[in-house]
C-alpha cells in the first residue's frame, strides 16, 4: 500500500485532473456538438472516459512500481548473497579445465539454492501475488480504454464478446443435455 502522504498526493492529483477534464468537457461540449457530426460525435462523447481511465491508472501505477521495485530488490539481494557465498567458497579464479568445471558446478548449485529458497518464501509469493494484482488493475483500465475506442467505432467490446461466449457456453451445455436425452430415448425405442 502507498504511504498516507503518497495517497494524499495521488488523491489531489486525481481530483484536479478529473475536475479539469469535466470542466473542459462541459465547456467544449456545445462546440464539439456542432463541429463533430455523425459517428465521430460518439468518439467526442467517449473521450472523457479515456481521460478518466488514464487518470485512475496513475494510482495503480504507483502500487505497481512499488511492487516491481520490491520484486527486483528481492532478486538482486538474493543474487548478491549467492555471489558472496560463491566468492567465499571459490576465492581464487580457477585457471584449468577441471577447476573451471568444478567451480561452475558450485556456482550453479549455490545460485540454484539461494533462488529456490527465495521463490519458496512467503515474502516473495506475497509480493509477487500483489505485483500481479496491480498489473491486472492496470490491464483493467487498458481494457476499459480499448472498449471505449471499440464502442466509438461501433465495434463489439470485450464485455459484449464475453456475453456471446457465455451464451454459447450455456447453449452448448443445453444442446449436449438434449442430445443425451434424445439418444437415450432412441436406444430405449430400439429395445
Amino acid at each position: 500500500m502507498s504511504t498516507p502522504d503518497e495517497k494524499k498526493l495521488l488523491t489531489g492529483f486525481k481530483h484536479n485532473s478529473l475536475f479539469w477534464t469535466d470542466l473542459l468537457y462541459l465547456m467544449s461540449n456545445r462546440q464539439q456538438s456542432i463541429a463533430a457530426t455523425g459517428p465521430f460525435r460518439k468518439f467526442a462523447i467517449n473521450v472523457k472516459n479515456i481521460s478518466t481511465e488514464t487518470i485512475e491508472m496513475n494510482e495503480d501505477l504507483a502500487e505497481f512500481n512499488k511492487r516491481l521495485g520490491t520484486y527486483y530488490k528481492q532478486l538482486s539481494d538474493t543474487w548478491n548473497e549467492a555471489q558472496g557465498e560463491y566468492t567465499r567458497k571459490v576465492p581464487e579464479l580457477p585457471n584449468d579445465v577441471e577447476h573451471i568445471e568444478a567451480s561452475k558446478r558450485i556456482w550453479i548449485d549455490i545460485f540454484e539454492n539461494y533462488f529456490t529458497r527465495l521463490f519458496d518464501s512467503v515474502e516473495f509469493a506475497e509480493n509477487f501475488g500483489k505485483l500481479v494484482t496491480s498489473e491486472l488493475e492496470i490491464a483493467k483500465h487498458w481494457n476499459n480504454i480499448t472498449s471505449t475506442l471499440l464502442e466509438s467505432a461501433n465495434m463489439p467490446t470485450k464485455k459484449e464478446m464475453d456475453e456471446v461466449y457465455k451464451e454459447l457456453h450455456s447453449l452448448r451445455k443445453r444442446v449436449a443435455k438434449l442430445e443425451k436425452i434424445a439418444n437415450k430415448e432412441v436406444q430405449e425405442n430400439d429395445k
Binding site: 521463490f119 464475453d162 457456453h169
Partner: protein, 354 residues
C-alpha cells in the same frame, strides 16, 4: 610488479571449441518449426470443440481387453508422452499389447473461458470414455491421469465410478496444502478471481514464468551450454530440440477451470477433504473403489510427492498400490528410466486387473 594471468591452454582450446560449436550449430540442428513431435501414428477418433480423442495404432496384437484412456495434463501438450520413439510412454504401452487412447485438450482460446471442471469431467472426458466404451465394446476403461490430468481423472473416477475399471494417477495434484513446490507457493498467493475476471483464461506467458523459476540456473544456463557442447551428437540434439519444442508450447488454461483448480485444490484444499463440488455434486474420494495405482517421483519439483500420496489413503479401494520412483516429474514418463522401470511395472499392474 607484474600482473600475470596464467591460463591453462586447454581452457583456451575448450573456449575456441565451444565458440566453433555455437557458430556451426545451425548446420547440425533443426529449427523448432522443423521438429516433428508426433512419433507414433494415431487416428483422431472423436473431437469436440478443441478437444481430440486420439487412438494410437496398435503395434502388436492386443493383449488386454480393457482399453486404456490417458487424460493428459492441462499444462503444455500431450507430446511429452510420445516425445521420442525410444522414450515414448504411449509406444511402450502399445508394444505391451495395450489399446491406448489419449485425450488431447488442444489449445483453448477466449471462447473457452467459461469452461470449468463440469465441462472437462462430465463433458469432454465422459464423452471420450463413452466413445471408447462404445467402440471397444468394453464395460469399463482403464483410466490414467498425468499431473493435472491426474486431478481431472480423480474427479472423474469419483463421479463416474461405474465406467472405470482401474485408475492410475501419475504425479497427480491432490493435496495442495502439503505441496511444497514453488508452483504451489505462488498459487496460494494468487488473486485468481482478479486474474480470470480480467484476462479470461490463464495466459501461457504466466504459466511459462512459473516454469522459468524452477531451477533457473540449471535450466537457463547449464542446459544450453551442454547443448552447444554436444552439437555433433545427433541423438542428443534431436532429443534436446524435441523437449524444448514441447516446453515452449504452453496453451492457455480455460478461466473457470483454472479458477476452481487453484481455489479448490491449492488455496482451500477442498479435493482431499471431500468438499469439492462439480456441477452441484460432491466429489467424495471415498467413492473411488476400483483398483488404484499411484505413481510419484521423489525428485518432482512441480508436484511434490507429499501432494500426490494422500490419494492413496483417501480412497475406499481395497486394491491399491503406491509406487515411489527415484526420478523427476518428466523423468517418470519420458526417460530411459521410465522405459526400464515405470512402464513395465505399470503394464504388469494393468494386466493383472484388466
Amino acid at each position: 610488479m607484474t600482473n600475470e594471468i596464467r591460463v591453462d591452454p586447454k581452457v583456451i582450446a575448450e573456449f575456441i571449441k565451444l565458440n566453433a560449436n555455437i557458430f556451426e550449430a545451425p548446420n547440425f540442428a533443426k529449427s523448432l518449426e522443423e521438429v516433428d513431435l508426433e512419433t507414433t501414428p494415431y487416428e483422431v477418433v472423436y473431437s469436440e470443440g478443441k478437444v481430440r480423442l486420439l487412438h494410437f495404432v496398435p503395434q502388436v496384437q492386443r493383449q488386454l481387453k480393457t482399453p486404456l484412456v490417458i487424460a493428459y495434463a492441462l499444462v503444455n501438450r500431450f507430446h511429452i508422452l510420445d516425445i521420442h520413439p525410444r522414450k515414448s510412454w504411449v509406444r511402450n504401452l502399445l508394444n505391451q499389447g495395450i489399446d491406448v487412447y489419449l485425450i488431447d485438450w488442444g489449445t483453448p482460446t477466449q471462447i473457452n473461458r467459461h469452461e470449468g471442471f463440469d465441462d472437462y469431467v462430465n463433458g469432454y472426458m465422459d464423452n471420450c470414455v463413452d466413445y471408447v466404451l462404445n467402440e471397444s465394446q468394453s464395460k469399463r476403461v482403464s483410466l490414467q491421469g498425468y499431473c493435472t490430468g491426474g486431478t481431472l481423472s480423480t474427479v472423474y473416477a469419483a463421479l463416474h465410478t461405474n465406467k472405470v475399471q482401474t485408475l492410475t494417477l501419475t504425479a497427480p495434484i491432490i493435496d495442495g496444502r502439503r505441496d511444497s513446490t514453488v508452483v504451489s507457493n505462488l498459487a496460494k498467493h494468487l488473486d485468481v478471481d482478479k486474474l480470470i475476471d480480467t484476462l479470461g483464461n490463464m495466459p501461457p506467458e504466466m504459466m511459462y514464468y512459473v516454469f522459468s523459476i524452477l531451477k533457473p540456473f540449471e535450466q537457463g544456463f547449464e542446459k544450453y551450454l551442454n547443448f552447444f557442447r554436444n552439437i555433433h551428437d545427433k541423438d542428443y540434439v534431436d532429443n534436446f530440440l524435441r523437449v524444448e519444442k514441447w516446453v515452449s508450447d504452453t496453451p492457455p488454461i480455460p478461466g473457470e477451470l483454472y479458477r476452481q483448480w487453484i481455489k479448490d485444490v491449492y488455496q482451500e484444499n477442498l479435493l482431499i477433504n471431500n468438499n469439492m463440488y462439480v456441477a452441484g455434486k460432491q466429489v467424495s474420494l471415498k467413492n473411488i473403489t476400483m483398483p488404484l495405482l499411484t505413481q510419484v517421483a521423489v525428485g518432482d519439483h512441480l508436484v511434490s510427492p507429499e501432494c500426490s500420496m494422500p490419494i492413496h489413503y483417501a480412497v475406499s479401494s481395497e486394491d491399491k498400490t503406491l509406487k515411489i520412483y527415484p526420478t523427476g516429474h518428466v523423468g517418470m514418463i519420458a526417460s530411459s528410466f521410465s522405459q526400464k522401470k515405470v512402464l513395465p511395472e505399470f503394464a504388469q499392474w494393468l494386466a493383472q486387473r484388466s
